[in-house]
Structure formats: C-alpha cells, structure tokens
Symmetry: C2
Subunit: 659 residues, 2 copies
Amino acid sequence: RVNPDLASERLAASFSVELLTASLDGGAERTRSRRAVVEAIENDPVFSQENQYFQSQNERYEAAVRRAVYLQKKIREMGWTENGPEVQYVNRCLSGDIALILHRVFMRSISMLGSDEQIAKWIPLATDYQIIGSYAQTELGHGTYLQGLETTAVFDDATQEFILNTPKISAMKWWPGDMGRSATHTVVFAQLYVHGKCYGVHPFILQIRSLQDHSPCPGVTVGDIGPKMNFQHTDNGFLQLQNVRVPRENMLSKFCKVQPDGTYVRWGSQKMNYFTMTSVRISILSDEVILPLKKACTIAIRYSAVRRQSKLKPGEQEAKILDYQTQQQKLLPQLATAYAFHFIKIYLDELFNRGYQDIQGKNFDSLPELHAFSSGFKATVSQQCTSGVEICLRACGGHGYSLLSGLPSLYTRIIASCIYEGENTILLLQTARFLIKCFMAVSAGQPVPPSVTYLSSVKPGKCPAKDKLDFLSPEIYLKAYEQMAIRLISSSAAKLQHFIQSGVDEYEAWNQCTVQLEKAAKAHCHYITVKNFVETVEKLDDEAGIQKIMKHLCDLFALHGIFSNMGDFLYDGYLTAAHMDLVTASYLDLLAVIRKDAVPLVDAFDFTDKTLNSALGSYDGQVYQRLYEWARKSPTNQQGNPAYGKYLKPLLQNTLSKL
Amino acid sequence: RVNPDLASERLAASFSVELLTASLDGGAERTRSRRAVVEAIENDPVFSQENQYFQSQNERYEAAVRRAVYLQKKIREMGWTENGPEVQYVNRCLSGDIALILHRVFMRSISMLGSDEQIAKWIPLATDYQIIGSYAQTELGHGTYLQGLETTAVFDDATQEFILNTPKISAMKWWPGDMGRSATHTVVFAQLYVHGKCYGVHPFILQIRSLQDHSPCPGVTVGDIGPKMNFQHTDNGFLQLQNVRVPRENMLSKFCKVQPDGTYVRWGSQKMNYFTMTSVRISILSDEVILPLKKACTIAIRYSAVRRQSKLKPGEQEAKILDYQTQQQKLLPQLATAYAFHFIKIYLDELFNRGYQDIQGKNFDSLPELHAFSSGFKATVSQQCTSGVEICLRACGGHGYSLLSGLPSLYTRIIASCIYEGENTILLLQTARFLIKCFMAVSAGQPVPPSVTYLSSVKPGKCPAKDKLDFLSPEIYLKAYEQMAIRLISSSAAKLQHFIQSGVDEYEAWNQCTVQLEKAAKAHCHYITVKNFVETVEKLDDEAGIQKIMKHLCDLFALHGIFSNMGDFLYDGYLTAAHMDLVTASYLDLLAVIRKDAVPLVDAFDFTDKTLNSALGSYDGQVYQRLYEWARKSPTNQQGNPAYGKYLKPLLQNTLSKL
C-alpha cells in the first residue's frame, strides 16, 4: 500500500536508514526505548491528535488539560522518572500539545530560587498537581527588558507581609501560560520595596485562585488574553493585582531575604539568574525549533516525491516535483540545515554541561560565553528553522496551505520561538557584545574562551581553490567562513571605535552600529555551525555509507550558505567572482546528488504518521486519498450549512421556474 | 485621547499627509468619494468585522455569505455600478472577508468565453444571485499545469450531451471557492473528447446542487475541503463527477464549438486565455497583496512609536522602539516597499490598458510582454509583501503574535498569494523565458518591447560614485541595477547555450539553469520597480514636501536592495567593496531621516481603525487599553472553563486541608 513513487526512492538509498536513525538517537538502544514510549503514548486515545485541526480554542484547551493530568498518571504507571528520557520522548510525540507546561517552570523556579523550607512546602504539593502553578514575569508593557517591570511588592513590617500591586495597565502580567484559566498559584516577579527603597525585581509565590471553587482571590483579576496565531491549547493569561498580600515567607529566598525588621540580606551569586535563561534557551531548541523543521522537511520531501506536475521532457510522464532543480533548491538546503542544527544542539549541550560542572565547583568564568552562545544560537536557529518551515509549506503549493498538511500549524507555532525567551534581535546584540569584547581582548593579546580563539587568526591572502571540487574540501570552505566572521566582527569593532573617537557618545555609537553588529553575530554562529558539522562528520564511522551522505549534507549546508550570502564572501576579495562560479557549480551538483537520498534522509528522522499528523507526509505516500478522507471528516461536512436557510434559499427559491 | 507619543510624531511631519493621501488615491475627489463609501459600509453592522478573531469556521462562513447577499442590496440602494470604483472601495474596506467571490469569476468566464446566447441566458440569473456560481479548474492532482487536468467531457451524439467524469481521485476538483457549500452551478474545466479524439481542456457550465433543496445533483459528490491557514470564511470545495450529463449548449463557445454531428470548430484566438490570467494576476495585487503590506506597516510603525522598551542612554526614559536602528532596519524598508509597489501597480495597469487597446484592435503583439510582466510581478510583489508582513509581525514582539494585533491574519492570508493564480517559481521561470528570448533578439539586433530595450545597453566600466551622497543620485543606483539585471540574464543565457552546445538536451539544460533563471527574472522586476519609482518621483510636484519625502523613500528602497543583495552587485566589480561601504552609510543615514516621518507616512495610507481591526495599530495609539478590552471580550473569558470540573477540581479538592 506504499505509493510506488516512494517505495522506489527507498530502494535506492545509498545508506542504512536504521543505522542513521540510531546514530541520531545516540545509539540503537535509545531508538528502541524511544519507539516503545511512542507506541505506549500513541495507542492511548487520550493522546490522539487526530481531530486537532478541526477543534476550537476551548476544545483544544480542554483536551490539553486532560492530557496533562492523564500523562502524570501514565508516568507513574510506567515508572518513568520525572525528567528522564521517556518524558522527553513523550513530549516529542505530543508535539507540545499539552497543558500545564508553565507548571513545570513554576516548580523549576521554586527549586532553583527557593529556600529549603520553601522547597519542602511547595514542591510536594506541585508534584501531585494539588496546586497548579504558573510563572508571571512578562507584563503588558515589558518583555525582554526585565529591569523595566512595573509590578511592585512593598514590605509591610506591621503584618510581616508583602503588598503586591500592578499599579497601571502596562504593569499587568500578560502572556504567562496556564494562568488564564488553570493556575491556582504563580511565581510573580515584582520590584521589591522595603522602607521606601527599591531592591529590584524579586520572585514571590502568590495564590491567585480559590482552592474551593477556582474563583479569583480577593484583589486578583485574572483571565485569558484571547486568541493567538497558535497555542490555542494554552491559556496564556493576564493578571491584575490590587493590594494583594502574601506572607513574608513567600518571597523566594535561596539567594536573598527580607528579615522581620525589614533588613535586606543577599548571599550567593546573582549571576545564576542568567543561568536559568541560558538553560531554557538551549532546552527549547530541540523540541520547539529543530523538530518542527525536521517534520516540515519530512512532509515536503515525501510529498515532492509523490506529486507529479508538468513534464521535464515532452512525451514523458509528468515528473516528480522533487526532480526540478528549483524544488531541490528549496527543500534540500532545509534538510541540510535540520541536520546541521541537530548536531549543533549536541555541541551546545556539551558546552552547557561543562559550564554547569564548573559552576557547581563555584567557577563562574564560563557564564559570559554560555550566555553569548545560548543567545546567539537561540536566535539564529529559531530564525532559520522558521524560515525553513515556511519554505517547506510554500513548496507544497496549495495543499501545503491546507491545515491537513500539518505545515500551517508547524509554521504558526515555530514563529513564536523567534519572539519568546528573548526577542532574536536583542539576543543577537548580546552575542555581538560578547564577540566585540573578545575581539578587543584578542587584539590586546589577552586570553579568550576556546570557542572564539579563531578571532586571532592571521588574515590569509586569497582562497586557494582552483576547481569546483576544491569547494568540497572542508578546509577550503571553513577558512572562507572563518575569514568572513572575523571581518564582520572586526569591522563592527572598528566602526564602533571610530564613532566613539569622533565624539559620539557610547550608547548612541552602539545603536548606530547595531545593524552591522547583528550581522556579525549571525556570521559567528554560522561559522561555528559549519565547523561543528565538519567535526561531527569526521568523527562518524563510515558505517553503511552514513559518513559519506553526511559529508554531502555538510558540504551542501556550507556551500548553500556561501551561495546565499555571496556579498559577505566577495566583499574583501577572499573569494572572487570566479570562485563564486565554482561554488555555484558545486552547490548545484550537490543538489542532484542529495536528491537521490532525500526520502531516506527524512525517513531517518523516524517520525510516526501520528506524530506528523499530515495528510501529505505520511510514510505510505497516499496523499490524495488521505486529504480526501480527512476533508470529509471536517465538521463543515458533518453539520448543516448555516447560511443556506437564512441567506441562500430566499434567493434561489424562484429560480427553477426561470430555467 | 491620542497617545502623546503618536501625537508628537504627527506634529513633526515634514509633508502634508492629506495631500499625499490624495496623491495616492489619484486626486482629492477620489479620496472624498472613497471615504464616503467606507463610512457607508463601516457604519452598517452587517459589515462589522469586530468579532472576527473569535469566530469559528462556520460563523465566519455564515457572516461572509450574509455580507455578500446584503452587499448586493446595498449596491442597488446606493446606485453603485457593478465594476465601478465604489465596489473597489467596499472590497478594500471589507478586506475580502466576504463570500461569493468566485461567483464573480463564474460570471467573468461566461462573459469572456460564452457565446451571445449563453451570456443572454446565464448572466441575468447570476447577476441577481438566482443561481450561485463557482469556477472549477484546479484538481486534487493538478494546479498550475492545466494541460494535465484529468476531468473528462465525452460527447455523446445520441443524446447531444457531454458526459462529465472525474475518473480518478486525483481528477477530483479541489480548492474552488464557493463550491464546498454555496454554489448551485459551476464552470468546470475538462478534457473534451469527441469520437475518441481529445481536443484539450474546455469549459462547461454544470449544475451541481438542486435549486429546490440544495442537495447535490445525481452523480455529483461535493463538499468542503476542510480548514486552511486562513480563508475560513470561504467554502473551498471538492467535486467528484460520475457520468454527469450536460446539454451540448453548455460548453462555453465563443471561440469553439462541437456541432450536432460531433464536428469540432474553432475560431478566434486561443491566446486570449492568457489574457484572462494576465488580468487576474494584475488585479489581485492591489487588494490582496499590496494592501496587506500597507496595513502591516501601519500597525507595526504606529505600535513602534508607542511601545517603549529599554534605554538608549542610562538615566533616560525608556526609548520608543522605533528609535532603535535595528527596528528601523526592519520596518522602514517595508514601508518603502509598500510605496514602491503602490507605484508599480499603476505602471502595470497602464501597461495592461495599452495592451488591451491593442488587442481590441486585433493586434496581439503585446501579449508575450504582458504575460511575462504579470507573471514576474505577481511573483515578486507577492513574495516581497509576504516577507514584509512577516517582518512587521515579528517586529511587534509577543503582541504581534496575538490575533488581536491583526497581523497574524494578514500574514496567513497574504502567504496564499504566493501560491494561488500560479505558483511563484513557475511564474518567474515564465518571465525568465521571455527575458532570455528578448536577450537573444537584442543580441541578434532584432527589436524588442520598450520595457526590455535596456538589455542592449553597453556594459559600462565601473560605478563612478565617489562619496556616500553620490548614492542618493538615481542615475548612479539605476545604472547599478540595470547592470546587475543584464548580467544575470546574459549569464543565464550563456550557461543555457553552453549546456546545449555541449550536448545536454534542451529541456534538461533548462532545468539545470532554473535556479539562476529565477534569480535573473527577479533582478529584472527589481530593476523595473526601482526605475518606475524614480520616474514617479520625478513626475511629482514638490507640493508640501511630498516629492522630497518620496525621493527619500525611493532612495531607501533602492539602497536597501543593494545592501541586501550585495553579492549580485559586487560580483562583476561594477560596485566595489568601497562602494558598498558608501551604500551602507547612505542607507543607514536614510533610515534615520525617514524614521522622522514614519508615522505620517503610514497615516497617509488612510486606513480607518475598523479596516485595520488591530489592537496595536489604531490611530489613537491606545495600545494596552485596547488589547485588554478586546481580550476580555474573548469567548474564553465569557464562557465557563470546560476543563475545571472534569479534570482540575478532582485534583484540587483536598489541597486546602494540606496548606
């Protein structure tokens, strides 16, 4: 029952799909374990996403809460540990379509920022959903700029309480998930005032809804912020506070505390706040950003091997659209990108784990690098994956635009990742600030973290490539990327210096360089991604052709980057126009090479049909049959026509006599 | 009640907004007339779009049918003519959120392709909605490639009927608007067979639903194709036909006919089919493509002048986000693009009208040029406007992601314009084919249409610019664009020749050049857009500063194009790296200049708040207040919580005793 057009693609695979899957999973044992979990979840009707595309916001929300509650039970039943790999697999196969995600952030923040007593009191209640938590940081008027938060917490020594207020409309908490309709409690961030003095933003545990009837607590106005581009299943909420009192014990106090007399005491490092954000930015990349691109590639590439349209030669059968160079040029670079980012995520995890070990040994030296990398990669990976998903959607023509393809919901969800957890432009500028500092340090002969020592490379003359095959050599293209990144960073630094020396004040000079600084930060991340892909390929065994096909993908990723950003490479003459012709030729050749393995390469991502939830992307390639079956299930075909009786019938009722 | 942050922007305008609006409308008289129509429509509750963001697919559909039926009445009442400017204004202010649009295409196709008798029979019925029509061309398995359609119409001399069939699942009609739930009739395109011989695709009038009870006619299976990324108000449908018979008279026969004995007769020009597509591609640009970008710019720019975030200097008030260079770099090029395309639409209309006059005089010479231009500009304008709307959405951070901002629905709708009426890549390749032909003709000294005579320009040496101000001279940047377009077209032609001369067969050679051909077609359209902007600015009076500000926008559009496509300009050395530094400097300077007039420049588009339907983009800038008010109206806040009783209450009921 597999469409012969897909079956033939699989027969022609130049490598073992099963081995590549195991390699992506980190071993065959993990693949087996993942599949077992996926099976346990997918066979359970509570977790079915079958009707998702037809559901209203209320239906999505209800189903998501049901899943969250039921999953907790399932985890117990199966004996999975709270943060173990199985729960990761579950999240992967539920595609995040589950409620009470912010409850986890609520728990994490109490665990990280709370005292031992606070942890002992709240965590057991939260673990069993005896309270439901949220995380109220963002306000209507303030997102990424936390210092600007306007919610206040004023200490009242008389009652030993904090009085919480959102003093104006822009101070209202806005966006927190699970808060609009579900949460009973939240961690709320507010400017702490003691005896008239402001101590900055601090977290407080606050009850917002009655445990008896779920009505808002006195002084609390809470509700849902209304429909969004996606996340219909999440009750993102608003919260207004009017003189709401919480006991002194509710300020999270692992690192600081207000004593009964109002004395403010701080201990531990404030820098650890960075670390939470760093960890979240890296942790979302996998499921919320890279996974959607892998899915979009799977859907679009399988469909393109089944869809036939027009003829490559007159007289022949209509061609698979994947055989057109323009279609390859759309999809195959996205496929290479999905692999490149799969590997960069492993790189970031390692960087993070090393940093975390240092920190546990009270060495905070790696924090700036970790912060810069998590910011820059969150931004570049989310940006490129979002644009990749859009390309996949459009590459499927009209059918890609149907919700039933699965592509629109991937897009409307992934685009949020460019905004949440730090807006991408601001994040890139933070990376740029780190790079400029490192560049200055390198210029002054000071040491820098290993990841940026390349900034001290001596400027080479011209690229030595003479032939298009030379551009399949990683040393050749890596040097070009390195050179380009150094140039963009150094020229931004020079421009900044120039402004400052000519009397422009430092902040204004920075603002006037930001367009170029953003570009420099992207170039750095791009270079590191290519470098890491090359190093990953080198480490692979050439088992069953895997290293070979990964090398092709790595080359494609690298050359596509040069082809698409030609100006940055031509600018200083390191690459010439003649080189660009060679790059273009090699790049177009690679499209034809990888096209042959395109279907097996997406098969290796090993998505089940239920996880993909796409009429276009299923394993069997029965595209038209499935589109038709799913469309017939649509409520519009099950219910009566709401406009006929009222508006159409009166117009049509006398027509018959006139025909 | 206008937010002072917006009021101050308006006070600082360097030009008269009222005069610019009149200039965009083509005169103050037209502005008055447009506003009167908008008022008449917006004050009518039937046309209110107020609750749109909260409605289900069924509610959207019902409201859209109601509007369509009611609008017909209104048009009569007001004495507006069917295709007059008033109906255009209505469409503009309803943002296409109305049903029975395909009914108009049904009527247009009968008028253009039907015989006088057919027109006399069907058009009066259709005019009064006594029948409701659709246009069934696209199939599940075939879109842009019309020759591949699989629906058949076999002539039966015995009964003097055509027997219509969709012989396999991929032959099913799929996507036609108004067909899923509304239409009683449709024009269906099918391969005509007479006595076993196929005569290609022809249009037939077919009844699909009973005029008595709206049930499908015998042999007809019809329904809705299910949810899409947008267009919830439209019942895009599917249609299966099993031996459905229509009388011989139902084949539209202005240009060809099957006689009673089965003789096939053709007269008139088949090329006229092109002309319908050409006209549709140009006509959608205004309301479906350029208008959404203007709206997105209005919303994002007004919001960016109100939203304050972070500080440009320590100690100061938080800055308007529009004062950050990176925000300017996102939004202002989109604003310049909206103006550039406003003017290119006027250019295309003039080209089309001249061509149409020629055609009425039986001169078909301009068809290839018109076809190439309508294809290329449909593709480039829809592509750039789509990406512009996405940039605007993301530039509004989290609030842009709320449906209440109005931006998500602009995006999910405009992206369809990249796919419908011809997939953009295919269209660009058609433009490329025309350009290659013209280039060959020019090389052989043969005449070509005036719009492409530039292809014969002699290759100049190097760009003569010496200073950043030189790049504000249109001759300087126009020459660079011209040079770049010629190079991309000529090098594609050379590559194609090279392949063919080295023995690659012609079709394969074409396929192997398509990535570069697509780029060449884009370069041509980009050049023409800049050139037309320059010529438009030259023709403006410098009344009240309008020419001056338009000149700035034109410069920005041109320099942004060079800055963003650096490689194409650097490649052949016409511009050098030193030139690029000058371009960058001039471009960044322009951002700061145009930023001052950014709000007045979007005010000049003259959208009412109701048309924008955006909590972020209203004229008064009361962003937070409106977001909050609208969110409270959301059904999620009006209805009970569907998950509380079933899933949350059981968890929470014993918690109180433990706290």
